[in-house]
């Protein structure tokens, strides 16, 4: 089991290097190899999730053992949170890769698409598995540079401009993160995450640590598109090809933004009340402004991108409430509930937002437009797309029995139990406005009788695209089972526990 851990990085990397070489010789090699590799990593991650080995699994690359108690090697660490993120990345990645077998056939230079896609997934796997700070940065850069190229893949005016804005802001974020890493190294003289956690308990300079934490929060918050760092997201996610939008919005902003924030602030740094309040404020601002900016949109993918900001606000709110309760030393059960709600919403959002973007891609594939006012009455012509879009819309608005209802319920319950009544009210209001926004989408896109004459002849989308959409819609229903106690203990709670044990992360990894 331990030897499987590097495979998550090796397999997509090998596929990404091999595809441009052999794609010309063997027809269709690129699509099938990419999908096969993604399916293999999805199986591996699900096996790791259900196999219940003792977490954390530590893999030392090169076999370098600690010298005098100081770890000198590069570690890959798979604990509960990492395995959960790996599952999301690989499963959504496989479905998006399978979807793009039909969708990307309309673009030129297909083989580069699959190579860059595998590179992006390899980078994300590396980020969630990284056991030391600098490797996290390197894998983050790998996946982010691949995503810059993928956003600009269609080489139209809109996509190039969106990619340029994304790159400048993403480059600035990476530099802020690098500055934070340099300052942290200056304080602790080590790069291993567990070792930093142990060393930081004895460091006395609080103001310097606070400055470093703010820098890292700003850098990773820019990657996760929290307000006020969100300016790149609507352009980039709406102009990218649809499977890439699904991957970016569904997985990338979580794996490199939210995962890094939770890992660093729960397990490495000593929890600080000011930072927790800042995180809560950022989360609630993202929630509220995201949904208000989304209401007035008539471009379908731009609307979905703004809703991404709002739902990320929910996740950060849940995590922030947990952070504040732990920092104050309050009730552990409420903190656990809040973090569980946040992480559950993260998993759900990956699935239903990915499905919504795939639906938008399907509509664009057949009708050639993204504007809601030009669609209408697609319900009769595209039944699969319409049914899956309806289930995704109900999931994101929080209607039972879909998964969005349960995760939002957990967050609101935790807010009420922790006496954050104002935040709970905000969460409920935002949920209602989300429902209104998606009812508008459903009405204009699928129902309504104004089918334009040019759209009379359209059919349903090809098999590869509809297969991915149906599987994701089924996952929306299946994931609501995670609320039940037995299944929750098995899948969700290891992730929550790995965050709840805070500074003990260092003790567990290094063994003393």
């Amino acid at each position: 089991m331990k030897a499987l851990i590097p495979l998550f990085v090796i397999l997509p990397l090998a596929a990404a290097f091999l595809i441009p070489v052999l794609a010309g010789k063997i027809k269709g090699f690129d699509k099938y190899l990419a999908s096969l590799v993604m399916l293999a990593t999805a199986f591996l991650s699900l096996w790791l999730l259900f196999a219940h080995e003792a977490y954390p699994i530590i893999y030392k690359i090169g076999g370098w053992e600690p010298v005098n108690g100081i770890p000198i090697g590069i570690y890959f660490v798979a604990d509960g949170l990492s395995v959960l993120m790996l599952c999301i990345i690989t499963v959504v990645g496989f479905l998006a890769a399978f979807y793009s077998i039909s969708y990307i056939a309309k673009f030129t230079g297909e083989k580069y698409f699959y190579a860059l896609f595998c590179l992006m997934v390899a980078g994300m796997n590396g980020v969630v598995l990284a056991g030391d700070l600098f490797n996290l940065f390197v894998f983050l850069e790998i996946s982010v540079i691949a995503s810059y190229a993928l956003v600009a893949f269609g080489i139209e005016k809109q996509e190039l401009e969106a990619s340029f804005k994304y790159q400048v802001m993403g480059g600035l974020a990476s530099l802020l993160i690098l500055l934070g890493i340099a300052l942290l190294y200056w304080q602790t003289k080590t790069l291993n995450l567990a070792d930093i956690a142990l060393v930081l308990e004895g460091v006395g300079d609080r103001k310097f640590m606070l400055f470093t934490q703010f820098l890292l929060l700003a850098g990773f918050g820019l990657k996760a598109a929290l307000i006020p760092f969100h300016a790149w997201l609507p352009d980039a996610h709406s102009s990218a090809p649809s499977p890439i939008s699904a991957m970016l919005s569904g997985v990338l902003i979580k794996a490199i933004g939210i995962y890094a924030i939770t890992r660093l602030f729960f397990n490495i740094f000593i929890l600080d009340i000011n930072i927790a309040w800042v995180v809560i404020v950022l989360g609630s601002l993202s929630m509220i402004f995201g949904v208000f900016l989304a209401i007035g949109q008539w471009d379908l993918k731009r609307l979905l991108a703004y809703h991404s900001i709002s739902q990320m606000g929910y996740v950060v709110l849940g995590v922030g409430i947990g952070m504040l309760i732990l920092a104050r030393g309050g009730d552990l059960k409420v903190a656990s509930l809040a973090i569980a709600g946040g992480l559950f919403h993260l998993v759900n959002h990956a699935v239903f937002k990915g499905l919504l973007f795939l639906n938008a891609g399907a509509i664009e594939y057949r009708t050639g437009t993204r504007q809601l006012q030009e669609m209408g009455g697609l319900y009769e012509k595209m039944p699969i797309t319409s049914a899956t879009s309806l289930s995704a819309s109900m999931a994101i608005s929080g209607i039972p029995p879909f998964n969005g209802f349960f995760s939002k319920l957990l967050i609101i319950l935790a807010a009420v139990l922790g006496k954050f009544y104002l935040l709970a009210v905000f969460a409920v209001i935002v949920s209602i406005i989300t429902l209104a926004s998606f009812m508008k989408v459903q009405k204009y896109a699928f129902y309504g009788s104004t089918l334009r004459r040019e759209l009379e002849k359209i059919k349903e989308v090809p098999f590869a695209m509809s297969f991915s959409m149906i599987v994701m819609a089924l996952l929306c229903l299946v994931l609501s089972l995670l609320i039940f106690p037995g299944i929750r203990e098995a899948i969700l709670m290891p992730a929550v526990d790995s965050l709840m044990k805070m500074g003990n992360y260092g003790v567990e990894i290094l063994g003393y």
Partner: protein, 112 residues
């Protein structure tokens, strides 16, 4: 201490270039300058008083070395900077071919 302040000043120069310049190539150059300042800062963090370059040669068993870990980090970060710059310039050339100008005020069409 003054060296760190100078690094930060270089970072601010780069940031000024990114924020206020209209030409795309000048924005790319601003990002490059910011990366250089970060690399410089990383190498300076590893300075040990009276240290020599961390290379093992015949007569160096008893010398104090400067910290070699930031130097290894900087090698990787320079490569990452190369990839970022190449990516930015490729997009800049494509933008020039589509719009015929390097001015970002004319290229800025996505709104709302």
């Amino acid at each position: 201490m003054t060296l760190f302040v100078l690094c930060f000043l270089l970072f601010l120069v780069g940031l000024y270039g990114v924020i206020t310049r209209r030409n795309i190539i000048k924005i790319v150059l601003g990002i490059c300058i910011m990366e250089y300042s970060m690399n410089l800062f990383l190498v300076l963090v590893g300075y040990v008083h009276d240290g020599v370059a961390p290379i093992i040669t015949k007569g160096s068993e008893r010398a104090t070395f400067v910290d070699p870990l930031p130097q290894a980090m900087v090698i990787t970060v320079i490569v990452i900077g190369l990839a970022t710059t190449a990516m930015l310039l490729a997009i800049a050339i494509r933008l020039y071919r589509k719009h015929g100008t390097f001015d970002i005020r004319e290229i800025n069409t996505l709104k709302g």
